[in-house]
């Protein structure tokens, strides 16, 4: 096929227009100028193509060449993804550093995955097996935490003619498949997939199990299901990134894809330095062994920021297809939307709200709809899930922001961060009065099974106490606390306990940073029981002052620092509390 070669006629920031591009297709990747900067075609008019360039365009001008690669923007999928840090168009930043030093310069071309590294492939399929796209051929132990399953590419179908275990690079042939026309297809461990197209699966199912995160306010009050979607909007300084990092650390997914989209460089460095040190609570292995990072920091080219979330989600889908539970953190989707806006402005499109393009809600919906619980391709009906958690950074914390609104239309869980809570240093600063989770009902059976009690009614009881507290606070502010009835005062005391001893969780404390669901259950039950016992005691005629001043309250405040292997201490505390109340 003849190569399409055009010529630049216009340069405006990340947007380049070239003429002579007859035959070029939308979203094909092109190389711009002799420096071969990577770009993508985003508009075609006659022989003119508008191109968003993923690298800085300074020094580029009319007359310089543009060549099309005739390929859409692809990511490389195969062993070697885990523990990597990629930029928005999947260039490995460690390899880029070897080539260009500490600063990122332009026109660097590096393979996303290492071509020379040998991987130990163990075949599980055998010659004669009938296979189709998604069928598992074998696996590679990529890291101590990840069994990387090698699958038949989605578009291949036939009978295995040959397959061998052994040590291979990702480009070497591991199997030969004879298709129905008798053609022999060579399969290697390396696959490519266009980022803007979701990877196929057999069928989608409703999410039905909890993505445990170890964060009490999330798991207990506003849980997200495996395969679900959640969003964290909040003004700056309210702790979005800390929450995202906590989820990346403690979520019980097998793979984490963390997308730093237009955020701080130091935050990515933090993840890079911290994750290898942190241990997975289940296996004791370093968390980095299950993590893929995509980093396009705010000072890196804006168009690549737009691509970064697609790069991340495609990698995540690939792992989902293996039948794994995958969680994607995107921090922050507002920066992605701003990149869309910038390109849209340069294309002189008619803007929607706040200058954002009118197609922003569609694009946001497309992105979040790539989450889900699915039955994967292949013949073993394995299930995989992909959970998306997106941070949103609304200007001035204003929730009428178009990006927030476009997001809330599609996500099922909303963790509203509140700067007032952050000022009081109540972290995570998730405001329980405005947040919601639409997965509560669908997780009802799941919760009942793991807790052995009617968990949702407990959770709702706690929630009701907090809501009542907000009402009473108004009255207290006007007329003072002493005017409240003893019952109400006890409720306030109990609400305070829920807030301070349960919801408040310190990410930097080695014990408190993660609370298993079991611990959450014990803590919440304890706090609610004390409230009940107090009310009973009050009925019996106990003095309210004494109930308020229970000496056990101090110990309850410290209960959240109980290590996971000493949870029986919370039970002992419960007995002690009962005794103390009964004495009154």
């Amino acid at each position: 096929m003849e190569q399409i070669k055009g010529e630049i006629i216009r340069v405006s920031g990340p947007l380049v227009v070239a003429k002579g591009m007859n035959g070029a297709k939308m979203y094909d990747v092109v190389h711009v100028s002799a420096m071969e900067l990577v770009g993508e075609i985003i508009e075609l008019r006659g022989d003119r193509a508008s191109i968003q360039v993923y690298e800085d365009t300074a020094g580029i001008g009319p007359g310089e060449p543009v060549t099309s690669t005739n390929q859409p923007l692809n990511v490389e999928l195969g062993p070697g993804l885990i523990e990597s840090i990629f930029d928005g168009i999947q260039r490995p930043l460690d390899k880029v550093m070897e080539k260009t030093g500490n600063l990122i310069t332009r026109g660097v071309h590096v393979n996303a995955l290492d071509r020379s590294k040998k991987w130990d492939f163990k075949a599980s399929a055998k010659p004669g097996d009938k296979v189709a796209g998604g069928a598992i051929l074998g696996s590679v132990k990529e890291t101590t935490l990840v069994e990387h399953r090698i699958m038949v590419p989605p578009d291949v179908e036939g009978v295995i003619a040959e397959i061998k275990s052994g040590s291979f690079t990702i480009e070497e042939t591991i199997a030969r498949i004879k298709d129905k026309d008798g053609q022999s297809i060579e399969v290697s461990m390396l696959q490519k997939w266009p980022v803007r197209k979701g990877r196929p699966y057999q069928k989608r199912l409703a999410p039905d199990s909890l993505l445990s995160t170890g964060q009490r306010v999330i798991d207990t009050f506003f849980p997200v299901a495996k395969g679900g979607t959640a969003s964290i909007p909040g003004p700056f300084g309210s702790g979005k990134t800390v929450v995202q990092h906590q989820l990346a650390k403690w979520a019980d997914a097998e793979i984490i894809v963390y997308i730093g989209c237009g955020e701080r460089g130091n935050e990515m460095t933090d993840v890079l330095l911290e994750f290898p040190e942190l241990k997975d609570p289940k296996s004791g292995e370093p968390l980095m062994k299950r993590t893929v990072l995509v980093a396009n920091t705010s000072n890196m080219p804006v168009a690549a920021r737009e691509a970064s979330i697609y790069t991340g989600i495609t990698i995540a889908e690939y792992f989902r297809d293996m039948g794994l539970n995958v969680a994607v953190m995107a921090d922050s989707t507002s920066r992605w939307a701003e990149a869309l806006r910038e390109i849209s402005g340069r294309l002189e499109e008619m803007p929607g709200e706040e200058g954002y393009p009118a197609y922003l809600p569609t694009k946001a919906a497309d992105f979040y709809e790539r989450a889900g619980r699915v039955v994967c391709l292949g013949n073993d009906n394995r299930e995989g899930t992909l959970t998306i958690i997106g941070a949103v950074s609304p200007p001035g914390g204003d929730l009428s922001d178009p990006v927030v609104q476009a997001t809330l239309k599609v996500v099922k869980v909303y963790w509203g961060l509140d700067s007032k809570l952050a000022y009081r240093r109540h972290f995570p600063a998730i405001n329980w009065l405005i947040s919601y989770s639409l997965y509560l009902e669908s997780l009802r059976d799941y919760f009942n099974k793991i807790t052995g009690v009617d968990w949702l009614s407990l959770r709702n009881k706690a929630m009701a106490i907090l809501e009542k507290e907000a009402e009473l606070e108004e009255i207290v502010r006007l007329v003072g606390r002493d005017t409240l009835s003893p019952r109400d005062q006890l409720l306030l005391e109990s609400a305070k306990s829920i807030r301070e001893d349960f919801l408040h969780q310190i990410a930097f404390d080695p014990v408190d940073t993660y609370a298993s669901f079991k611990k959450q259950q014990k803590l919440l039950t304890l706090i609610l029981n004390i409230y009940e016992w107090n009310l009973d005691a009050l009925e019996r005629g106990a003095e309210p002052e004494k109930l308020m001043a229970l000496s056990i309250r101090d110990e309850i405040a410290k209960a959240k620092y109980t290590p996971e292997n000493q949870l029986e201490k919370i039970d002992a505390l419960s007995l002690k509390a009962r005794e103390e109340v009964d004495k009154l």
Binding site: G59, M268, S419, R425, F508
Partner: protein, 462 residues
């Protein structure tokens, strides 16, 4: 090398000049406009469209004519000649010496836009910088390689605070080479003079580089000023191994210059008329702070911005806060109470604090101590509010103690002299003596071992 001279200027609109019939012009190229008067102005190419080049003039367009002016394109971007001789020198907003000293003989020429630091090459900031301010060192700690802006407003003493930080900032127990790079954008002569004379008085000028764009200098020039300052800083930090503190003031003026250019280009505006790419543009400046693995030097940034109408949700402070690692907020109400520095610690934040304090950095009790002071002060402030509605008599005894704590905290902890350089030990000590006024039971955020060790006797008796 000679460059083609174009006489084909066809439009002059605001700071923009359109040159037609051009050939081989590159995006972001440096242009030189010759006025009929023989004067020269520098500009840069904002857009090339076939044979038209749109040039933004840094010097403004006054005196530029459609006929009689000419443009040359210099085949490179804007560069700064750097060498160790930069230290002790004062330049204008475009990097030309204005201190009557000799021209710099450059060691090398650097493009002022710089290149992004590879996140993989970064080293995480974790070394405590002692500024001598209790409100910063104790509660909103600055660390080396951080970008920590000061959010201020008209009429507040941000310049004095910045100058004091520049005077006092040091890393404990180290004798490293230290430098200050100062970028002024649209500040008044008096403010600029204050900084220069303060630097001269204390001898800091010897290790400082100043880039001065004053209020009466061309506004568009300001777009280049912070980039020049950071280019100088990068050279000093990463090639000469110096610890560089960059002070940029006032970022609000910078953003307004950007808005002016954007409006002249008739771009679709974002909030309050600022261009949609303001976030990206600001991040290109702020993200140039940091440390690089294997390099001794570092760049710490303190950008200062004045919030229009003290409004923190205004796009400039808002977008800044999303990029920087925290913010120091100057409060008008504290200023009115006569407290210097009027730093409001509650909404202030240093995101890197927890990496910079604690054992082996400051002192083991520091993290607990800071968390407790925040909590107690916040409670005291709430009590203050309650007292204004219900009267002090309506407060519970514990609330009254917190109210007292909050008042003393502002008077004794936040308040300090303009030449008072408090050590971190002193800061911790003042904090402990204030905490001693509260019942020990209320100090829930501090571990018992620290309470036993550091809490002054007075409250142990309770």
């Amino acid at each position: 090398m000679t460059f083609k001279k174009y006489l084909s200027i066809t439009e002059v609109v605001g700071p923009l000049i359109l040159v037609e019939n051009t050939e081989g012009i590159k995006y972001e190229e440096l242009a030189e406009i010759e006025l009929p008067s023989g004067e020269h102005q520098l500009g840069r190419v904002l857009e090339v469209n076939q044979d038209k080049a749109l040039v933004q003039s840094f010097g403004g367009t006054s005196g530029v004519s459609v006929k009689g002016s000419s443009a040359r394109f210099l085949g490179r971007g804007i560069e700064l000649g750097v060498s160790s001789d930069l230290l002790g020198r004062i330049f204008d907003g475009l990097g030309r010496p204005i201190d009557d000293g000799p021209a710099i003989i450059p060691d090398k020429m650097l493009n002022i836009n710089g290149n992004p630091i590879n996140p993989y090459a970064r080293n995480y900031p974790s070394e405590f910088i002692q500024t001598g301010f209790s409100a910063i060192d104790g509660l909103n700690t600055l660390v080396r390689g951080q970008k920590l802006p000061i959010f201020s407003a008209a009429g507040l003493p941000h310049s004095r605070i910045a100058a004091q930080i520049a005077r006092q900032a040091r890393v404990l127990g180290s004798q490293e080479k230290f430098a200050v790079v100062f970028g002024a954008m649209g500040i008044t002569f008096e403010e600029a003079n204050f900084f220069i004379s303060d630097f001269q008085k204390t001898g800091a000028i010897e290790r400082a580089v100043l880039f001065m764009n004053l209020a009466n200098d061309p506004a568009i020039e300001r777009i280049a000023t912070p980039r020049l300052a950071l280019t100088a800083a990068e050279y000093l930090a990463f090639e000469l191994d110096m610890q560089v503190l960059v002070i940029l003031t006032d970022m609000t003026n910078y953003c307004e210059a950007l808005r002016e250019v954007s409006a002249a280009r008739k771009e679709i505006p974002g909030r309050r008329g600022y261009p949609g790419y303001l976030y990206t543009d600001l991040s290109m400046i702020y993200e140039r702070a940091g440390r690089i693995r294997g390099k001794k030097g570092s760049i710490t940034q303190i950008p200062i911005l004045t919030m229009p109408e003290d409004d923190k949700t205004h796009p400039i402070p808002d977008l800044t806060g999303y990029i920087t690692e925290g913010q120091i907020i100057i409060s008008r109400s504290l200023h009115r109470k006569g407290i210097y520095p009027p730093i409001d610690v509650l909404p202030s934040l240093s995101r890197l604090r927890d990496k910079g304090i604690g054992e082996e950095r400051t002192r083991a009790d520091h993290p607990n101590w800071a968390s407790q002071i925040f909590a107690s002060y916040a409670r005291g402030k709430e009590a203050q509010e309650l007292a204004t509605i219900l009267g002090e008599a309506a407060l519970s005894p514990v609330d009254r103690q917190h109210l007292l704590f909050a008042n003393r905290f502002e008077q004794e902890f936040v308040q300090q002299g303009e030449y008072e350089d408090r050590s971190i030990e002193k800061t911790l000590e003042i904090g402990w003596s204030l905490l001693a006024e509260l019942p020990r039971l209320e100090l829930k955020r501090i571990k018992d071992e620290y309470l036993d060790k550091y809490l002054p006797e007075k409250s142990k008796a309770e």
